[in-house]
């Protein structure tokens, strides 16, 4: 299963000057499967604009060489990113970003943040909740609303969370 991609990449092995915009890192203690850590880091980089359309993801060979991880793990992560619609694998060249997630504009984010601080958060603090209680309550409420919205989310190429539902 691993054979097609890595051997396809060998053809471009000598064009080693193409540097990928991102580097991966692994947290062995996080408990998150390694392929999912890679997927999450790509999603994160897409959101922050560190990865843009046309960028090449690090070559499988380079990732396994620097992190000393199983090539199948990297291939699995890249397949996941391809499946989400963000990247495309080109035989003999590598994996390239073809779409980016919908990014919420900064002013919109700032407005939401302000209303959260002035509204719900100040109520919660006034009610005497501490940091952990607030976090727990917010997380629980977020989960409730996600369940309420449920599968009404459109087909999901342009918007994807990468927080764990990608496991399937």
């Amino acid at each position: 299963m691993t054979v097609d991609k890595p051997s396809a990449e060998r053809g471009s092995a000598d064009s080693g000057h193409t540097v990928s915009p991102i580097n991966f890192r692994i947290d062995p203690r996080s408990g998150v499967p390694i392929y999912l850590q890679l997927v999450n880091q790509v999603n994160h980089a897409l959101r922050l604009g560190h990865l843009r359309q046309g960028d090449q993801l690090p070559r499988v060979r380079d990732v396994v060489g620097s992190l000393s991880i199983n090539p199948n793990t990297v291939v699995k992560a890249y397949r996941e990113i391809e499946r989400a619609g963000y990247a495309v694998g080109r035989p003999g060249q590598g994996t390239f970003i073809v779409a980016t997630p919908r990014v919420t504009p900064a002013e919109k984010l700032n407005g939401l943040r302000r209303s959260l601080v002035r509204g719900w958060l100040s109520d919660a603090i006034a009610a005497g909740l501490d940091h952990d209680e607030i976090t727990a309550l917010f997380t629980a409420a977020l989960r409730d609303s996600e369940i309420a919205i449920g599968s009404s989310e459109p087909g999901g190429t342009a918007q994807r969370d990468g927080q764990g539902e990608a496991v399937a």
Binding site: M1, T2, V3, P6, S7, E9, R10, A13, I26, P28, G31, P33, I34, V60, R61, V64, G65, S66, L67, S68, I69, N70, P71, N72, T73
Partner: protein
């Protein structure tokens, strides 16, 4: 295609069975970790696979059905033994000459370019190399034969953490480039999850656990809850390991395809590969084998399927 297939494989040294009733089929293209306590039969299994030992019972074939030890198989398998057997009084270049003369397939250019990437000079005496460099040289010679299957016995033992990382990185790059299958034995279970995708756990000369690591991890869970219900849990799942405190019981169980609803007050947590391996090592009577592998077992012992 199975890269290694054994059926009722056993090896007896004098009156001791080093390996017995070993039936397995390891798919190609995997990086297989072979773990188990000292004396579990790891080296014996590897020696039988590469043709350095002859089976007492049963059979072993490699690379899609070739008898282990046959000429065809020997040309396609590279083996690095535990003590990294190299000639200390030779120079690196002479070591390569020797390897080139002793093998029908040997890619001299590849080995020289790898060694120069690693900063190992051809003029150096092999005996003067560091442990990490010796391991890299042995690995280089193994790769340069372009094997379909690479077998390594305890490749990491005696290497410092940096040398271990670099050695594994070299190995992973070769897998990415060549798509070869790898089987290695190891005691370092904390690093297995990074590199291996298939696990074979031997204990007391028998296969105790075997399978795709992702499936093994997904198919086990740690359940914790009130001790009164522990018995009911144990009826539903194969319990690998159980620990009880006053108000809480903790069971590492094999859930297989799903755990369904748990009794009131019980929680389920994912297991790591390390927890899983340690639990099985502590409970040699528990076992987890894929269905077909059980068929050939002449004496099914406590199988928890």
């Amino acid at each position: 295609m199975s890269v290694i297939e054994t059926s009722g494989l056993g090896k007896q040294y004098r009156d001791i069975w080093a390996l017995r009733d070993c039936t397995m089929a390891i798919p190609a293209g995997r990086i297989v970790a072979l773990v188990g306590p000292n004396g579990a039969g790891k080296t014996t299994l590897l020696h039988l696979t590469v043709g350095l030992a002859r089976a007492t019972t049963g059979s072993v074939t490699v690379l899609g059905g070739a008898p282990a030890g046959s000429l065809w198989a020997l040309e396609r398998i590279a083996f690095v033994a535990q003590d990294v057997p190299l000639y200390g009084y030779l120079s690196v270049a002479e070591m390569l000459d020797l390897a080139a003369n002793m093998n029908r397939r040997f890619d001299r250019r590849r080995s020289e370019s790898r060694l120069s990437e690693l900063g190992i000079a051809l003029g150096h005496k092999v005996g003067k190399l560091s442990g990490g460099q010796r391991a890299q040289l042995a690995l280089t010679i193994a790769f340069s034969r372009h094997p379909d299957l690479l077998v390594l016995d305890e490749p990491l033992s005696g290497l410092d953490p940096l040398a271990r990382h670099d050695f594994m990185a070299s190995l992973m790059i070769a897998v990415a480039e060549d798509g070869l299958s790898v089987v290695f034995s190891s005691h370092v279970i904390s690093e297995l999850e990074r590199v291996a995708d298939y696990l074979v756990l031997l204990s007391g000369g028998r296969v105790q656990v075997m399978g795709e690591i992702s499936e093994l991890v997904a198919g086990h869970a740690t359940l914790s809850g009130p001790p009164v219900d522990a018995g009911r849990i144990a009826e539903r799942f194969a319990v690998v390991q159980s620990q009880r405190a006053g108000r809480q019981a903790q069971l590492l169980v094999r859930t297989g395809n799903g755990q369904g609803a748990l009794p009131e007050g019980w929680d389920s947590a994912e297991v790591t590969l390390e927890e899983l391996v340690l639990a099985y090592l502590r409970e040699p009577s528990a076992c987890a084998l894929p269905g077909p592998a059980l068929v050939g077992l002449p004496s099914p012992k406590g199988t928890t399927a």
